[in-house]
């Protein structure tokens, strides 16, 4: 019998080469998306070079731009994780914005009802309430999915609509701020505000989420739970036959996702707005999905992709001011990057096929 010892993994050089090859579709997708958007901007009668310079440099020109970008990066990262984690188990959480709104609701409830408490008590309470509310909201969908086989895509989307009404009711009736002239709640107590550092001030939610993102990436790679999540996503039947409680794993992934989205809501309240207002969810849900998909579900890649998207988002206003190209161009750009990336899968397959044919000939 031939007993040739094989390598545990390919050599560092081979892995680097493979990573380089894997990066090609990403680079191409980004380039092609920029080219297409440049054409559109030019057709609209604006200067694409000027527009892109504004978009890409705004975050790095001064500290204000960077703080803005990082503040944007926080909910984007959390919402992308809230999409990517259930995706690992083959489940689709499209309810990130509802879970985020419920998180904001939990936080603002604590901040208003217990507004006199000092920071050491109120701030943790506020964060915990937000996380719990988000988890609970996602838990409804998880329970429906597990107990009654209700498709989680439908239940999470529909619960988003419920959350909009909850937000509207609380902001315009229960805790409405009469002076604000819109669906806005009164401010939370000072003890509920996230401390800020530096100048211009950055809330420490950024640091919290950075640590969380590192922990999530580590946990996904090394932990039993991360492995089980991956196994369920790769082959649910095989996972089940090898002792993994697949239903439990899927439910947990949804609840963790809800907790992260809820945290995003709490941080928006405690760190940015200090109140809850209509539209607090912004377009973080759709951007979170785009980030999760560009990252291809990799929790390690999510924070980096989220940073790139945050740069584009923050630069959008600056682009409109300097070049006149509308802010929507940025969303088109983001969508096209994803679209071309998905198309590149097909192109890569074709190239690989052709290469193998050539090798055979």
């Amino acid at each position: 019998m031939s007993t040739v010892t094989v390598a545990a993994r390919p050599s560092v050089g081979e892995r680097a080469k493979a990573a380089g090859v894997a990066a090609i579709p990403y680079i191409l997708a980004v380039l092609v998306a920029f080219v297409v958007v440049a054409i559109i901007i030019a057709l609209l009668g604006h200067d694409p070079a000027k527009a892109f310079r504004a978009v890409l440099t705004n975050s790095f020109r001064n500290r204000t731009g960077m703080v803005q970008t990082l503040h944007k990066w926080v909910p984007l990262t959390l919402l992308a994780l809230a999409f990517a984690i259930p995706l690992g188990a083959g489940r689709f959480n499209i309810g990130g914005e509802g879970q985020m709104i419920l998180g904001a609701t939990g936080a603002v409830a604590m901040g208003i009802l217990l507004s006199d408490l000092p920071t050491v008590v109120l701030l943790p309470l506020l964060i915990v309430a937000g996380v719990a509310a988000g988890a609970l909201w996602a838990g409804i969908s998880a329970w429906l999915m597990q107990q009654f086989k209700v498709n989680e895509i439908l239940s999470t989307v529909l619960l988003n609509f419920v959350s909009f009404e909850i937000l509207d009711y609380l902001a315009s009736v229960v805790w409405s701020d009469p002076g604000a002239g819109g669906a806005v709640t009164t401010a939370i107590g000072a003890g509920g505000e996230l401390p800020r550092i530096g100048k211009p001030p950055m809330h420490i939610g950024v640091i919290l989420v950075a640590l969380l993102a590192i922990a999530a990436a580590f946990y996904a790679r090394r932990s039993v739970a991360g492995f089980e999540l991956r196994a369920v996503g790769l082959n649910e039947r095989a996972a089940k036959l090898h002792g993994i409680r697949t239903g439990k794993v899927a439910v947990m992934s949804m609840i963790v996702a809800g907790a992260l989205a809820g945290l995003a809501g709490a941080i928006e309240v405690a760190g940015v707005h200090h109140r809850m207002l209509e539209g607090i969810q912004s377009n973080f849900l759709i951007l979170g999905i785009i980030i999760g998909l560009i990252a291809r579900g990799s929790l390690t890649a999510v924070p980096f992709v989220a940073f790139g998207i945050a740069v584009l988002e923050v630069g959008a206003g600056s682009m409109q001011r300097t070049s006149g190209a509308p802010v929507e161009m940025v969303l088109i750009l983001e969508g096209l990057i994803l679209l071309f990336l998905l198309m590149s899968d097909w192109v890569t397959d074709q190239l690989r096929l052709r290469a193998s044919r050539k090798a055979a000939a």
Partner: protein
């Protein structure tokens, strides 16, 4: 036996002559310039292990694959076959392993499907064909209600109805009982007597010896030899099939598998030892009120191999999942006295119950995960420390397992789904044995494997039993069950029937039980 001597260069041209057939799939050369000749009025065996290229060659003949090179002549005239339609027009009929039939249509409708029936007495013609060739079917029966053996007859009738001169049967005895095999071989003889020829694709030497006039042996996509049945012996065929591999003496045994069956009842001492597994009255309710596993009781000693024979679709998958804790059931199953029914699958695994499922891609592996991760699956909780998996150690152990189980792979980081069937099975077995199983259940463990891998699986199973593990082998290959098992039982319609000690099982008796004709209590 009067083997017709259709020597090339004789007066009459052969019925079929394929010359220099070459077929590549990407970088893989599936057929290496194969020559294949079938004379008139002969049953020609096409013999070889899995992956030898037998089916590929016949798919070229049937127009399913376009060859890269080579020519085909029928009755001495060159033909171009670009599609099954051309093949049928040229007089070639083929019965595949999986039948393409419309379940809700009748037998007659399936037979004539796609032909012009105006002015044809369809039922009369089918009845005539079925009588002439001993292929008993009811033209009015619904296909979906018929057992595999009858559906196969319908496929043969379909080919004959379309005027086949050359009938290709691809592993036709899979899932047939010994009685049905005899009937099939009888029909093949009747077809040859009427002036047609039959190509029997098989990996079983016993079948070629029993049914064929001549045979062609293939290995690794190449033609090895064409011999008359009268001039050869099973040992000679086995040696040619296996080739000059280092372990060829042992592997030849596997190739021969079952040639001795029915010759004598051997007196082999029964395995006796402490009782390890006791299952009693295991039942799994089904959706339609009928149980999918019904009142199954088993008992296994340490080191005993229990074989469960049966035709596919008699509840084997459900039974396998019940006996390994993957499916909730009523009843009781104890391992070394510990009750396991009602506990989660993980508890069964921890107790030492290990399952090697039939569908390797769907149930056995995570195709997108690498070999290391697949080897960790199932043991990931027991080997974790503080909830974290030591992947460094896992990778080192994977390298050891790959060399011990001779998995052919570039590295341990290769995705499991990219491996061949035999290598996937080796990964699954490596994982199974890493659990130190006390009870090991394997379902169709060698299906689709080449001879060397089959031999490897048998060796491992026997070694596990010798080490005290109780083994259950559920297989649709009766020869496999007879070759491995100390005791044999039969799965029929969700139940277990019969109980025979090694050497006391008559294949025909087993065949009756497999079709539900109760003989033994």
């Amino acid at each position: 036996m009067s083997a017709p001597d259709a020597a090339p260069g004789g007066a009459a041209p052969p019925l079929l002559r394929m010359r220099g057939i070459r077929k590549t799939f990407g970088p893989v050369v599936a057929l290496k310039d194969v020559d294949f000749t079938v004379g008139p009025r002969e049953v020609h065996g096409l013999l070889g292990g899995n992956g030898a290229g037998k089916t590929t060659l016949m798919n070229v003949l049937y127009g399913l694959y376009a060859p890269d090179a080579g020519t085909i002549e029928i009755d001495g005239a060159p033909v171009v076959i670009a599609s099954p339609k051309d093949a049928i027009a040229a007089g070639v009929g083929m019965v595949h392993q999986t039948f393409l039939q419309v379940d809700v249509f009748t037998v007659a409708e399936n037979v004539v499907l796609g032909t012009d029936t105006s002015g044809v007495d369809v039922n009369g013609r089918i009845r005539e064909l079925s009588e002439r060739f001993g292929l008993a079917v009811d033209p009015a029966a619904r296909i979906g209600d018929l057992p595999v053996g009858v559906r196969q007859r319908v496929e043969i009738l379909k080919a004959l109805y379309r005027g086949a001169k050359i009938l290709v049967l691809d592993e036709p005895t899979t899932n047939l009982t010994p009685q049905e095999v005899d009937a099939l071989f009888g029909s093949m003889r009747a077809i040859v007597d009427e002036g047609m020829s039959v190509v029997l694709i098989t990996h079983k030497i016993r079948e070629t010896m029993a049914a064929c006039d001549r045979m062609t042996i293939m290995r690794d996509g190449a033609w090895i030899a064409t011999v008359d049945a009268a001039d050869t012996s099973p040992e000679d065929l086995a040696a040619r099939m296996v080739g000059a591999a280092p372990a060829s003496d042992e592997t030849a045994d596997v190739a021969l598998g079952g040639t001795e069956i029915g010759d004598a009842t051997l007196d082999v001492p029964e395995v006796t030892g402490p009782v390890r597994v006791v299952g009693s009255r295991l039942t799994v309710p089904g959706t339609g009120g009928k149980a999918v596993v019904e009142d199954v009781s088993i008992e296994l000693c340490e080191g005993e191999i229990l074989g469960i024979a049966g035709v596919a679709g008699n509840g084997q998958v459900e039974l396998a999942e019940t006996l390994t804790g993957c499916r909730p059931a009523h009843g009781s199953l104890t391992l070394d006295g510990t009750e396991l029914v009602g506990r989660p699958t993980e508890a069964w695994l921890r107790a030492g119950v290990v399952y090697v499922p039939e569908d390797r891609q769907r149930d056995g592996i995570l195709p997108g995960a690498d070999i290391t991760e697949n080897l960790v699956l199932g043991a990931h909780r027991t080997r974790a420390k503080a909830g974290l998996i030591d992947w460094g150690r896992a990778r080192r152990e994977a390298v050891e397992a790959i060399s011990e189980f001779a998995v052919k792979t570039p590295s341990a980081a290769t995705a499991c789904g990219q491996l061949s069937g035999g290598n996937i099975q080796r990964v699954i077995l490596a994982r199974a044995f890493a659990h130190n199983p006390k009870m090991l259940l394997l379902h169709n463990p060698t299906r689709g494997l080449d001879i060397a891998s089959t031999q490897f699986v048998y060796d491992r199973i026997r070694a596990a039993a010798a080490g005290g593990c109780s083994v259950i082998v559920i297989s649709e290959d009766l020869d496999e069950v007879i070759a491995l098992a100390d005791r044999i039982r039969v799965a029929y319609s969700g139940r277990l029937v019969g109980d025979f000690a090694r050497g006391h099982a008559d294949p025909y008796e087993l065949g009756r039980l497999m079709t539900g004709v109760s003989g033994a209590a």
